[in-house]
Subunit: 315 residues, 2 copies
C-alpha cells in the first residue's frame, strides 16, 4: 500500500506546500542525554505541526470531482487546521467537526483558513454522528486524522527528510497518539534507513499503544488526563498493524518527566514545542543508559502552544 | 579601527567557536508586519546570545602573555557566560564580577564554564571597584561587555552573516543597550550592504540611546524598570560615535508593545527569545506603515529566558 516509491512521490507532491523543517542539535542537550540527539523540528512546519504533510498529501490524491465537493474531518487539534489549509490551497471547501469545548484559538485557526466549523458535544459518538451528517449534506470526502493510508504516507515524508539530512541514525523516536506519524515513520525507516530502530514515546497516563503492543490488539484510550493532550487517541486498524510489525517498542513516561523534558527543550534548545511533542525526548532521557553514545533522532511534532496553559503547567 | 577587512578576519578567527545562526522567516509574521521580515536567530548562538562572538574575538586577539593571566569583566548577563566560555576554550582563567543579586541561573552558567565569580553590591561603583581589585590581584585583562573595539568587531560578524544569507535588505534593526551589537551592526552594513538602513529599538522606559541621539552626547541610563533588562546600560564612548554616525534612528516602544511582540514571536515563530531581544521587532510593528513591503532584518539577540519570570510577565 505505502511503498518506498509512493513515499518519495508523496514528498514530491507536497513539497511546494510544506516546509522542509530544520534538524537542530545542542551540545548541552547531548551532554545531558549522553548521546547525539537530532531534533527534527516539525514545530516549524506549516500550521505548526507535521499534520500539514498528511492532510496535504491525502487532499492532493483526491480526484477533481471529490475535491469539488469539499473535505471533511472531525478534529479538535492540529489536523483540523492542516485540512482547512489544504482545502484553502486547493480552492475547495472544508467542513470541520469540533467539540464545542475546543479551545477558541484552534477554532480561530480553522476559520483563518476558511474552514467551516460544525460544533458538537465533546464525545466521540457525537463527533462521528455530526461528521456523518455533514458528509451526507455536502458530499464532502472525509480525511481522517491518522487512520488513512494517504495521511500516513504524507507523515512518512518527515522521517524521510530526517534520514536524508542525518544518515546512520541508530534510533528514531516518535510520539504515538493515533499512530499516523509513528506508522509513517516506521515505514520511512524501513525504506530509507533500514538499520535505524524505531521506537515510540507515550505518557504513562495514556498508555494505550504500550498496552496494545503487549496484548497484540488495539486497546482503548485511557481517560483524558495526561498533559500530553495530543496523544490521547487510541490506535487505528490501519496504523496498528504497521506499528506492531515495525516499531521496536513503546516507552512510557510520567507527567513530571514530560514537564522536565519540556523545560529542557525551552531552555536549552530555545524552541517552543507542544507538551505532546516532548514525550519521545522524555522517554530518551528516562532510558538514557540504553542510548549511550548513539545517534538518536527525535521528531518534535508540533509547536502550537497556548502560552497561558504552558505557564500554568510549568509555573 | 574596525575595517571591512578586520571584520572579515574576525569572522574567520571566531568561526570554529561559534554557530552560524539560521535566518528564520514566517508567512504569518510577514502578513502581520506588512513586510518581509528576516530574523537572525542569535538565540541559537553559543551561550544563547550574540555575546559569544565579541567575547571570543576579543579573547583571541590577546597575546599569549595576556591570556595566561586570565580574563576579567563585570557583567550580570550573557557577556559573563560568553567570556567564561572563551576562557575555558583557551584554557585560561576567567574572573567575573557579578552583583550579588544576579540570578542564580546566570551564576551557574558562569561556573559551568569554570569562571570564578566575585560578588559585589549591585551598583556600578561597587562593580568597577571590585573589578579593579580583581585585576590588580590577578593581572587579568578586562574584556568590557561592549565598550571595546574587538568586542564590537566580533558583534559585527552577526550582521555580516545575515547580509551574506539575505542580500538587499532595505532595513536592519538591532536592539541597543551599551551599543556593542548596534555599532558592530552599523559598521557591517556600511561595509557589506551599504544600501541597508540601520535602526535601533529601545524601551521607552530605558530610552537613553534615543535621548543621546537627540542631544548629541551620551545620556545617562534610566532607572532600571523596563522588562527589557538587557537594554538598561547607557552607551559607551567607543560605541556612541559610531552609532551617531551610522545609525539612522532609535525607535522606542512601550512595555506592552514589548510583551505583544514577545507573544507573537513565541506563538508564530515557535522560538524562545529574551524580552530585550524582541524590542526591535516591537519597534517594527509599532511603525509598520514605514516599512510596508520592505525587506527588514531583525537581530534576535538572545534566548536565555527564565521560564518562571517569562510566565509572570505574560501570564
Amino acid at each position: 500500500m505505502i511503498t518506498k516509491a509512493s513515499v518519495t512521490e508523496a514528498y514530491t507532491r507536497i513539497r511546494p506546500y510544506i516546509h522542509r523543517t530544520p534538524v537542530m542539535t545542542s551540545a548541552s542537550i547531548d551532554e545531558i542525554a549522553g548521546c547525539h540527539v537530532y531534533f527534527k523540528c516539525e514545530n516549524f512546519q506549516k500550521v505548526g505541526a507535521f499534520k500539514a504533510r498528511g492532510a496535504m498529501n491525502a487532499s492532493l490524491k483526491l480526484s477533481r470531482d471529490q475535491l469539488s465537493r469539499g473535505l471533511a474531518t472531525h478534529s479538535s487539534g492540529n489536523h483540523a487546521q492542516a485540512l482547512a489549509r489544504a482545502a484553502k490551497i486547493l480552492g475547495v471547501k472544508s467542513y470541520i467537526v469540533m467539540p464545542r469545548t475546543a479551545p477558541e484559538i484552534k477554532k480561530r485557526g480553522v476559520r483563518s483558513y476558511g474552514g467551516e466549523i460544525f460544533e458538537c458535544e465533546p464525545t466521540l459518538e457525537a463527533r462521528e454522528k455530526t461528521l456523518a451528517e455533514v458528509m451526507a449534506q455536502t458530499g464532502a470526502t472525509e480525511i481522517h486524522p491518522f487512520n488513512n493510508y494517504d495521511v500516513m504516507e504524507g507523515q512518512a515524508t518527515c522521517a524521510m527528510e530526517l534520514f536524508e539530512d542525518v544518515p546512520n541514525l541508530d534510533v528514531l523516536i516518535a510520539p504515538v497518539g493515533g499512530g499516523g506519524l509513528l506508522s509513517g515513520t516506521a515505514l520511512a525507516a524501513r525504506y530509507f534507513s533500514p538499520t535505524t530502530r524505531v521506537m515510540a514515546g507515550e505518557p504513562d497516563l495514556a498508555n494505550d499503544a504500550w498496552r496494545s503492543m503487549q496484548s497484540g490488539k488495539i486497546e482503548p484510550a485511557s481517560p483524558p488526563i495526561s498533559i500530553a493532550d495530543g496523544l490521547l487517541t487510541s490506535l487505528g486498524d490501519k496504523t496498528f498493524p504497521l506499528i506492531k510489525e515495525h516499531v521496536e517498542k513503546v516507552m512510557t513516561v510520567s507527567e513530571d518527566e514530560i514537564k522536565d523534558a519540556l523545560r529542557l527543550v525551552f531552555e536549552k534548545m530555545k524552541i517552543v514545542v507542544e507538551t505532546s511533542c516532548v514525550v519521545p525526548f522524555a522517554a530518551l532521557l528516562k532510558n538514557r543508559s540504553d542510548f549511550r553514545g548513539k545517534r538518536v533522532g527525535i521528531i518534535l511534532s508540533g509547536g502550537n502552544v497556548d502560552l497561558k496553559k504552558l505557564c500554568q503547567l510549568l509555573g
